[in-house]
């Protein structure tokens, strides 16, 4: 069942990555603002990256709650895999955003609330990954707490543009997209989401395999 789901997601993601650029570059009109124009094409991949980061943070945070309440390592495997996704897609979001900012604002970075809280989220999950890698035994509980803290940052990022005065565009951009921009945007978003699921399952299977193998090696060493 899981293999079939992954296969379907992989096929949909592959098809999406072929069709989406065609729609983005051939069909979608240029943004009607002088400061955006062709550079707005970054939007079609930058925003889906951010959405996948949010999804990853939620999966990691909820799995961490599951792990802390049940102590089942399966929850921990999923939390760790999702945290990797946050680091990966967060890096893409934080690289593509400044490239676009330089083109439209004239500066790579502004310390406004949306950008700063996004950077904070990414740093939290980088800390999570470092803790899991070098923290030693028992670090998984500390890391779980960190993931929950990271998840709590997601609503803060989303509402930062409403709570504070920011240079980053607010949350009305996506609902007010022109009709020619919606199909490529939603296609790109679902493509990234399917790719996220594929990578998450692959990373989870790898983490689970490593854990089971190390358990088996430990048991074997004890028997020896």
């Amino acid at each position: 069942m899981r293999s079939a789901l992954v296969l379907v997601c992989a096929l949909l993601a592959a098809a999406g990555y072929v069709v989406a650029p065609i729609l983005i570059f051939e069909k979608a009109p240029l943004a009607p603002y002088y400061e955006l124009l062709f550079n707005q094409k970054i939007f079609y991949y930058h925003v889906p990256c951010a959405w996948v980061v949010f999804a990853g943070a939620f999966v990691s945070g909820i799995s961490s709650i599951g792990f802390l309440s049940t102590r089942s390592p399966r929850w921990d495997d999923v939390a760790s895999a999702a945290a990797d996704m946050v680091v990966l897609f967060g890096a893409l979001m934080l690289i593509t955003g400044p490239i676009w900012a330089k083109a439209s604002w004239g500066a790579y970075w502004k310390w406004d609330a949306r950008l700063t809280t996004s950077l904070l989220l990414w740093l939290i999950f980088v800390s999570y990954a470092l803790l899991r890698r070098y923290g030693g035994p028992g670090s998984e509980r500390l890391a779980a707490g960190l993931a929950i803290f990271g998840m709590a940052d997601v609503p803060l990022i989303y509402f930062a543009v409403k709570l504070w005065k920011t240079q980053h565009p607010d949350t009305t951009v996506v609902p007010t997209l022109g009709p020619g921009m919606r199909p490529p945007f939603y296609l790109a978003s679902f493509t990234f989401l399917f790719f996220f699921v594929v990578l998450l399952v692959a990373r989870d299977a790898l983490g689970r395999g490593q854990r089971l193998l190390h358990d088996a090696q430990d048991r074997f060493a004890e028997l020896e």
């Binding site: 124009l37 062709f38 990256c49 893409l92 395999g209 088996a216």
Partner: protein
């Protein structure tokens, strides 16, 4: 009679065409090379815009309205050129899309390497277990 009328019509049309051509003629065509020489830049002697400034100053002294219109036209042309350049600037978009693919491919390769290492460790453990069973 008809031939004469045709001749008059043709002659009138030709005359009007010549007169219209005269009216549209570029007055700068009448200027000699010596007239334009002060507005040409000697290579390396000065920046080209300096020659343009001299032209504008002389034109302003002759006719302030025409001079101001020329400046306006230059501003519009500049903005138009910059807007076209900005609209077709693919540098940032190519860079952003390129980074996405490089990072994603790097991550997939990392997963693949880790999976290979895991498979290798499983084979090693299986060999150890088989050896232990033989003992």
């Amino acid at each position: 009679m008809r031939t004469a009328l045709n001749a008059v019509v043709v002659a009138t049309a030709v005359t009007l065409a010549v007169l219209a051509g005269e009216a549209r003629a570029n007055p700068f065509q009448k200027l000699s090379d010596e007239d334009l020489a002060p507005y040409r830049t000697q290579t390396g002697a000065e920046a080209p815009y300096r020659a343009g400034e001299r032209l504008l100053a002389d034109l302003e002294a002759r006719d302030a309205y025409v001079s101001a219109a020329l400046v306006d036209a230059a501003i519009v042309r500049f903005h138009d050129r910059e807007a076209r350049r900005f609209a077709n600037d693919r540098h940032a978009v190519l860079l952003a899309y390129g980074v996405i693919w490089v990072v994603v491919v790097g991550f997939v390769l990392l997963l693949w390497r880790r999976q290979r290492r895991l498979n290798h460790e499983i084979v090693e453990l299986q060999a150890k277990i088989a050896a232990a069973e033989r003992r």
